[in-house]
Symmetry: C2
DNA sequence: AGTTTTCTCCCCCGCGCGGGGGAGCAACGC
DNA sequence: GCGTTGCTCCCCCGCGCGGGGGAGAAAACT
C-alpha cells in the first residue's frame, strides 16, 4: 500500500493515446502532492471512471473516438460539477473553446505545455482559479472586443435614440422620455435604419447589440 | 548615455504613488531587456508622456486623481492603439475590468503580483498575448456562462420559431421556411411572447439573446 | 460667408404585428 | 379512457411602424 497523502490531488487522465496517458502520468507522479488515480481511453469510459474514482480533477483530451472531450466535459459538468476539468488539446486552439469555457471548464492547456506549467495549472485549477492558455484568453478577449469596423457612424442623438429603440417603449413613449415630438423620434429612427441598413427596429436592436453599440445588461 | 538595447522593451509607469513607481522601476530595471523610459503620476500626465516617449507598454494604476486608469486606457487606446496597456490594481478585481477588457487592454495584474510574474506578464503582452490575472479570467468566464435559470420553457418548435423571429423575415416568410401556414407561425409567436412575457418580437429577440437561447452570430 | 450636418417637426399611406377569440388532431401520461 | 400538451389552422380588430415625401433653425465645418 502506498503512502497516503492527506492533501494529495486525485487526477484522472482521459486520452485515447496510451503513450500520452503514460507520459502524463509519469510526469505528474513526480510531484509529491499529485496522485494519478486512473486512466481512460475515451469520454465514455472516462465518464464512468470519474463517477467511480471521484477525482479532484480530470485531464481530458479534446479529440477522442466514441465520445470526445467536449461531450464528456459537458456530461461531467452536469453530473459531477465539483470535479474540475482541464482540457488538453493539440497545438492550436479549437473553436469549441467558447462552448467549453461557457460550460464552465476550468482549464485549457496545449499539449506542448511545459510539465512545470501543467503542474502549476493543475494547482491553480484545483484551488478554484481558472487557467486558460494565453492563446485561449486572447481568443476569448478578442470575441469580447467590439469589431473595430464601425461601419455605421451615428450621431450622438441617433445613438441615444437607438438605445431607446432597443427598449419596449413605443416611439410615442420614447418621445416623452426625450422631451421631443414623436415625429422627431420617428425621423431619427428612419435615419438610423437607413444608416444601419436594417429593415426594422428589431433587427436594428439586434445588430446594435452584436456590434456592441448598446450593452446587453439592463 | 546608457547602453542601447536593440530589442529592449520601453516601459512607461503611471501611478500616483511615487513609492510604487520607484519600486516598480527598480524591479523592472533588474531585467536586461526591460527599460523604464518614463513615469507619470496621473492619467493626464501619463497620456502626454506616452505620446512623447512612445513606449512599447504602459503600466497603469487603476485608481488615480485627475484622470484615472480607465479614462487614460480608453484615451490611449484611441490615440495610440499600438501601445500595449497593462492595468495594475489593488488586491481585488474591479468591475470596470469588463469595459477595460472590452476596450482591448492587454494585461491586468494585481499589485501583489510576484516580480517574476510581472516580468513574464510584460513579455507576454509585448509579444501580443493577453495576460489577465486568474481572478479576472474567472470573472470574465463567469459572465460568459449562461444564467442557468431558464425561467421560460419553450417547446422545440417554439424555440425554432423564436430563432426565426430574431431574423428579418416576416411571419409570412417564416411560414414558408417552416412549410406551415402563416397563422401557425403567428400562433406560436403569440405563445412565445406570452411565455417570455415580452411585448413584441424585438424584445423577445433581445431577451432570447440575453438568456442565450439564441446565438449572437448568424 | 457659405456649405454641410444635426436636430427638430409635419404629412400620408399601407402593412406587419399584437391581442382577442376558437378549433381539430396526434402523442403522451396515468 | 380521458386529460394534458404540442402542433396545426382560422377569423377579426386596431395600432405601431416602415417608407415616402418636405421644411426650418442652429451648430459645425470650410
Amino acid at each position: 500500500m502506498g503512502i497516503i497523502m492527506p492533501d494529495s490531488i486525485r487526477i484522472l487522465i482521459v486520452d485515447d493515446h496510451a503513450v500520452v496517458r503514460k507520459g502524463l502520468a509519469m510526469v505528474l507522479r513526480l510531484e509529491p502532492d499529485l496522485e494519478v488515480v486512473g486512466e481512460a481511453e475515451n469520454g465514455r469510459v472516462g465518464l464512468e471512471a470519474a463517477k467511480k474514482l471521484n477525482p479532484g480533477i480530470v485531464l481530458v483530451d479534446l479529440v477522442m473516438p466514441e465520445m470526445d472531450g467536449q461531450e464528456m466535459a459537458l456530461a461531467l459538468r452536469k453530473s459531477n460539477p465539483k470535479i474540475k476539468i482541464m482540457m488538453l488539446t493539440g497545438t492550436e486552439v479549437d473553436d469549441r473553446v467558447f462552448d467549453l469555457v461557457a460550460a464552465g471548464i476550468e482549464g485549457y492547456v496545449l499539449k506542448n505545455v511545459e510539465p512545470a506549467e501543467l503542474v502549476r495549472a493543475i494547482h491553480a485549477v484545483v484551488h478554484g482559479e481558472a487557467y486558460l492558455h494565453p492563446d485561449v484568453m486572447k481568443k476569448i478577449v478578442s470575441r469580447m472586443q467590439p469589431q473595430h469596423a464601425p461601419i455605421v457612424t451615428l450621431t450622438p442623438r441617433e445613438l441615444e435614440v437607438l438605445e431607446w429603440m432597443a427598449s419596449p417603449n413605443t416611439y410615442k413613449q420614447i418621445a416623452v422620455q426625450l422631451s421631443v415630438s414623436e415625429e422627431t423620434v420617428r425621423s431619427h429612427a428612419k435615419n438610423i435604419l437607413e444608416k444601419m441598413k436594417q429593415p426594422n427596429r428589431a433587427q436594428a436592436a439586434l445588430a446594435a447589440m452584436k456590434m456592441r453599440l448598446i450593452k446587453l445588461n439592463e
